[in-house]
């Protein structure tokens, strides 16, 4: 998985948990909370959907890694690839 593909995975999840938001111009280097109406429960939703849909675990200590699309991609892409490598 590329980092761009990883960002799309995250955006697809956000589209479901924040269906009123316009996601067409999300800036990857800006904190998601600074450009979208997302609260702490929504971030728990992102964590839950990563777990449910993709088997990815994000420990609480790493939640801050989900701050922006760029940081999501940095943090999650290796996890997705490690999971894929496991088969």
């Amino acid at each position: 998985m590329t980092k761009d593909e990883c960002k799309k995975v995250v955006l697809d999840i956000i589209a479901d948990i924040a269906p009123d938001e316009d996601l067409s111009n999300v800036k990857p280097d800006v904190r998601l909370r600074d450009q979208l109406q997302l609260d702490s429960m929504d971030f728990l939703d992102i964590v839950m959907e990563l777990r449910k849909r993709h088997g990815i675990e994000v420990p609480e200590a790493d939640y801050m890694q989900l701050a922006s699309l760029d940081s999501c991609a940095e943090y999650l892409t290796p996890k997705f690839n490690a999971l894929a490598a496991k088969g």
């Binding site: 948990i17 269906p19 009123d20 109406q37 429960m41 939703d45 839950m48 777990r51 449910k52």
Partner: protein, 415 residues
Amino acid sequence: MKSYQPSRIVITGVGLTAPNGNSLPEFRRNLLDGVAGVERIDVRYMGQQLAGVCHYDPLKYQKKKEVRVGTRAGSIAIYCAREALADSKVAFDALPKDRIGIYIGCTEHGNVETENEVHNISKFNYDTKFWSHYHNPRTVANNPAGETSLNLGITGPAYTIGAACAAGNLGLIHASQMLRLGEVDFAICGGVSESIHTFGIFAGFKSQNALATHEDPKKASRPFDKARNGIVISEGGCLYTLERLEDALARSAKIYGEIAGYHVNSDASDYVLPNPVRQAECVQSALRRAGLAASDIHIVNTHATATPLGDIQECEAIRSVFGTGCPDTHINNTKSFIGHAMGAAGALELAGNLPSFDDLTVHASINVDDLDPACALPGLVLNQPRKVAKVDTILNNSFGMLGINSTLIVRRFVP
């Protein structure tokens, strides 16, 4: 010394969603036209069942995210509250939000959300790390009132009242009390139900042999008919705006009617079986508190749910109060159109009758092809609405499991 005179409480707005209407005018028109609102739905683990389903637009007053995060009961409550406020024509923005109370009756809350979560984790080998973090805010008993306060920015007291299927009446009664006590200056009150989304309610009634079946869904809810065979479970909601009379008059509000009297009591005799003696006592006490005789009541809206025994017992209670000496008393039933909307039932059924003050017409009990002699009360309005000479009073019965009984009397407003 001047004796204490409690404030007169009046109804100034109605918002509702029923299986056969999403506003009072639409609901009323369908009650007069004999249009029922029961259909088949798929119930988890049980397959096709009969139910009353509401078809309001949740997105009229909620964002998509609110609908996703919240509950069906919360959504119904928000819809009804917003509709009632609009109907009341109160200048809502100018009202002090900490002086508004939200009092919503519920039969149950949390079954739907819990069943959904258990179903969800069943797909993950019952691993509870897949259990939603929304479970607790969704299942707290005050959820529908809390969601309404969030949606409207109301900071006064907002809570639910658990009173089984008497809960709709209890919402109005409690709001009247809070207005009289001066706890709030404006109340949003009534009842809501999301019960068609929990298989447990269906399965429970089925295990009691109390779940209606019929090849034609619209004929399934048939109180007083010999062939009745149980309850049609429905969702729905009906919330009212209540105000002290002087406040309503000061803003020239339309007044639907005045709370004339009420009573709530308990059977203390059985988990599920009604007690006609206690029901009759409840009705008698409400009459006494309203300063009315039985013969002063023009419409009795029955609770009857179409169970074989329950209908007979309520008729026994009504017969003992009204006897044969009340020629101006007409008796009907709204569940024959919409099924049993549980916590919303009392509030919806009252609303369906309020327009009678204006049109002098009593809506019928439909689906009575063969009247059960044990239910043959004088004044029963069957299958066709009845034009009458006078409607100044409506008495609304709502009873519930564990033996809670409620009677609410509303009278035509006369200054």
